[in-house]
Symmetry: C2
Subunit: 361 residues, 2 copies
Amino acid sequence: MAESTTRTTRRTSVTGPLDGPEAAVILERVRASVDPELRAAVDSLPGSMRRIARYHFGWEHADGTPAAGNAGKAIRPALVLTAAAALGGPPARASAVPAAVAVELVHNFTLLHDDLMDRDTTRRHRPTAWTVFGDADAILAGDALQALALRLLAQDTNPASAAAAARLADCVVELCAGQHADTAMEKRGPGDVALDDVLAMAEAKTGALLGCACALGALYAGAADEDVAALDAFGREAGLAFQLIDDVIGIWGDPSHTGKPAGADLAARKKSLPVVAALTSGGPAAAELAALYAVPYDGEDEEGVARTALAVERAGGRDWAQAQAADRMARAMQELARAVPDPEEAGGLLSLAEFVTRRSN
Amino acid sequence: MAESTTRTTRRTSVTGPLDGPEAAVILERVRASVDPELRAAVDSLPGSMRRIARYHFGWEHADGTPAAGNAGKAIRPALVLTAAAALGGPPARASAVPAAVAVELVHNFTLLHDDLMDRDTTRRHRPTAWTVFGDADAILAGDALQALALRLLAQDTNPASAAAAARLADCVVELCAGQHADTAMEKRGPGDVALDDVLAMAEAKTGALLGCACALGALYAGAADEDVAALDAFGREAGLAFQLIDDVIGIWGDPSHTGKPAGADLAARKKSLPVVAALTSGGPAAAELAALYAVPYDGEDEEGVARTALAVERAGGRDWAQAQAADRMARAMQELARAVPDPEEAGGLLSLAEFVTRRSN
């Protein structure tokens, strides 16, 4: 699925020599310019908060000894810097580093809090911070990272920094509302969730920060309001495409790639996008799915998971999600072309959008 | 105790005709200018977050119907506006309203999170937000209020707003470290807590935001760096005096005034400032107190609470706290006189400092 969407998008957008630098190259360059500033920001925290943050970022083990470090792929900082470069060239890219760091800090603040709320025990193959330091410290470290993000922008003398801070703060509010909607939705019965509500939730929870990252890059490039808005929409649509594909992988993904057992989302009765599309499609397969979802998974019933996956597929959930993902990527490309008409200048952002929607783990 | 300190401070500072407007009058005026902006900020939140915040502020019942509203005394916004007025007159006071609202939002964000971490069930005579909406929503609403606070300053065009935002974000980090230290300290044995550590914790947890409020007012008045620093120190010292008096009241306060059973802090084995001063004083009373604190309170033993209070008193904890509070208030007055030499201009801040340290509930 991930591959087929990627191929679709490739066809509808640029190909071959117009492709920007490979995403992996971009991400490596971004890490090189963002990591020192990110570490300096985290190291400015008082000892107690610094320790939790450094553990969360993968720079330290729980006992404070240095760790190899796997702080995630830095997609969001890459979107900030690549958007800045696309609209303002290398000087804008260089100036936007504080915004890239701020976005990464906000992302990690929400991870610390979301892991706790969702009681997720693993993040980037390590125990989550709340399992190591307790609930209170995970809350406090998240609070401190949000403050750090907004302080970084408040201290930045770039003329775009105030608008960037206001936009990032707005995005935090949207992320909170999205996480609330997600939690509230999971508590409802399978028949009580509308597809539009899940799409709106996914946009707030996943699309908003990707859009904000692109918008901040545009702001630091001194772009016009409509270009900032177009880049925000580009990031949001790509984010929704990513979420749709991630949900498909959560059902039909190869466990050896995803690292999760097959159908884990179905076993957890998660109301992911393909599931809700299937539940709301009408017909016998939707009714069968609703009946399966009405009782909790019994823990061992692999055949039941397979039947559930088949019901989602037969009710059209898989096809719908694939078509939606392709549609969202097409819209993302339109928005990108509006703000950055030159395909060469748009190449980096395009590569990143394809990278996030292509990844299978 | 509260009264004797107040009397001491009155003697060491201004009296009679030089007293500024009464604190109650200031607080009422502040509510009138801050409340509309505070409500507008909260009402800009998405529905789910708005509902929790409006409940927390006392403007709504849990079912969303309007409530009479008891959103607290607005001490912190009053410090912002009164500091601005003291250093920059009425125009500075008027311009500082966004900063006053931001400080009040930060204060309430920390209340939402601290109540959850401390599992406190009552705030301003109502069930705390986490007991009504659950842990996740209390975390999210707190996160959203922090974002709202920093967004307000980011959107403010006043030349002081960026420095104010940076300072407020720094203060949030300090508040987080203070809350962490408090939680960590309560887990330690009674012999493992140093008096300096409790004082540092109280300064971070209570003094920092009162100091920050005063500093933000000074920034909006366009004050020189040393006056901003002096007003920060004034707020911090007054905050520590308040905490010392609050701790004394928590042990020896009249239950009909405090609304808490006599000795509630002792029964909870809280390592408050007078208790740690007593524990670290050496001598037989300190040893007796350590022995009493080494076993949990059995729930009914009123005589045991009285013995514990007596041990704190005999070990010098009460006298130390009273002397410290008086000393802190004297230092606060010195800092205030440094930044605002004219006693008439300093009158409002003086009244507020006396108000916070005088209150007995």
